[in-house]
Symmetry: C2
Subunit: 348 residues, 2 copies
């Protein structure tokens, strides 16, 4: 490794002191125009690069922010992360990304890694409800701001950016009811594949489903709401197959997410069940595969860009204004109606 030039080298070369070089480089107003010019020229001539470790040490700042997500195999979190990176690149912060394979233990390890890396703030989507609440609070108490996005820990006093899962789940279910009634089924049976207990969002989405049934005076049979162990395609396939094996065919199906919905669709299509004619299907939080299935999968799309930007902006504010109050931002989602629930959209 070649020795990188430092401000001392520049100073020596120019016969001035390193403080002046430092000030000149920092654009400090008290530096004479001519010397500033000279310093800058010499700096670029010597290919000088500031040593950010030294700079950060003196300022005792790291200019790093940390991100923790449950996974990044699906495009969901990566799309948000891109926004976060774009935002912080402009602010001259580095972004340290960690993912925890849906494991709360790994999430904890990741938080520790970020803490050890002296990040100035953390953006996190919680992996498992309540598992690391103590750590979030500890970090906050230490003065490290945290902003939750998508999956928040509501028991923690921090900013968050989410959508109203209850509301959109309600709308999604309502849409399914409308579609079946349009076909003349006054009392359609609506099945729901619930998300795992560990995911905080599951409860809200489940309540939305239930309340939609209540509003439309539909009977709520417990066997129609089944709990998923994870949120994969295989699990959706397994649960739907089990239901069909019991000889039950619902009129519509609302799933916690797209992967479960796609698996369930595959299980049905394999048995010759026609979608959406016999069963209307609706997923949640728009996956990449939603447009690949046949028919295309209806889903609730979240404003990923806005989530990322908003969360980043909220975090920056906390970093720059330590005492500032927390904001719970609730963004709007979109109901993307496609062929899996609406016969009129089949050609799309």
């Amino acid at each position: 490794m070649v020795h990188n030039p430092t401000i001392i080298d520049i100073a020596r070369e120019l016969g001035i002191s390193k403080s002046t070089v430092s000030r000149a480089l920092a654009g400090h107003p008290s530096v004479k125009e001519s010397t500033r010019k000279a310093v800058q020229e010499m700096a670029s001539r010597m290919r000088y690069k500031p040593n950010y470790m030294a700079r950060n040490l003196t300022k005792s700042r790291s200019r790093i922010i940390g991100v923790v997500v449950p996974e990044f195999i699906n495009s969901f979190f990566p799309r948000i992360i891109i926004q976060i990176q774009n935002f912080f690149e402009k602010e001259r912060f580095r972004v340290l990304i960690t993912q925890c394979d849906n494991s709360p233990e790994t999430e904890r390890r990741n938080l520790r890694l970020l803490e050890d890396s002296m990040v100035e703030g953390i953006l996190i989507s919680v992996t498992s409800k309540g598992a690391n609440t103590d750590y979030y609070n500890e970090l906050l108490a230490k003065g490290t701001p945290i902003v939750f996005f998508n999956r928040s820990d509501r028991s923690v006093d921090a900013s968050s950016v989410t959508i109203d899962d209850y509301k959109w789940s309600f709308f999604a279910t309502e849409h399914l009811i409308y579609m079946r009634r349009k076909l003349g089924q006054d009392n359609p049976s609506i099945m729901h594949i619930m998300g795992p207990e560990g995911i905080g969002l599951s409860a809200g989405r489940n309540r939305g489903y239930e309340d939609a049934l209540v509003k439309h005076h539909l009977t709520m049979s417990p066997e129609m709401a089944v709990r998923a162990a994870d949120i994969t395609r295989d699990e959706g396939c397994r649960l739907m197959s089990a239901m069909l094996d019991r000889g039950v065919l619902p009129d519509a199906l609302f799933c916690f997410n797209d992967h479960l919905a796609i698996g369930a669709m595959q299980a049905m299509l394999r048995r010759g069940i026609r979608i959406p004619q016999q069963v209307s299907v609706m997923g949640f939080s728009e996956s990449q595969s939603a447009l690949v299935t046949v028919p295309a999968l209806s889903s609730v799309a979240q404003p990923l860009e806005e989530i990322g930007k908003t969360a980043a902006a909220l975090l920056l504010r906390k970093i720059e204004t330590p005492g500032s109050e927390s904001v719970k931002a609730v963004l709007n989602a979109t109901l993307n109606i496609r062929g899996s629930s609406d016969p009129d959209a089949l050609n799309i």
Copy 2:
């Protein structure tokens, strides 16, 4: 922000010098057992955390390695990155991940970011052929090791981890030929949607396709090999539609990647063309959606875990043994035969 305890605090508390504390914490053998114990206890009692910026400054190391990928919307790169992170977590390195939206300019910005971050090494999958060769060489000359993975810049003298795109593309094409001949078509027409010129891999995959045709004495009509502008589903759909509009229906289709293949399949299915009965389809580099399409898409699967681990290990070696020679690792891939090319696999 509360003042974090430093080794000075520990030293004062114990009435010893900070050098001793430093040595005790570093596990230096010359420290008396009893003082080492005392220091460690005090350290954990005070919740001491080493300031890595200070430590790195003195050692002039960053313990950060950088990763540059073209995108991480698809699961391909994230799966590799996870391996890289796991590997380097054990080695107590932080991993700085950047993605460049398939833009060579952004790739350059990312490299600069990594350079400014004083990373000790870089793992990169090249976005656009030749665009930043000068920068790679510059970094190498400066002493920053680089390891290419998946998409390498062959003109640069550095380690790389890839698969033999030519070979697997050849096999994939051959498989299509076999399948059509099995159906009695002695001279099947095999269409190829080539990757963009900018992607270095395109050439190798294209040669594999061509040579397979040659080997099997099939005529190679230039109109059967069309160039994709990008590697998206939409582009695949567009190109296939154009082909069909010209009244041409190939017997088989080999695509640069899965997304193009899926788009092309959609274009065909929409017009009632039957896959694999009328047209056999084969993608490349296994996407998440390959199992979601109906029929499921045949594809060439790359050993993502091994790619990640190998690349990480090669980089670490370069970091630890600066002079060590470069290694061009070529890993094995797998032909995943599914319903889109093989009628016998339709039920899978």
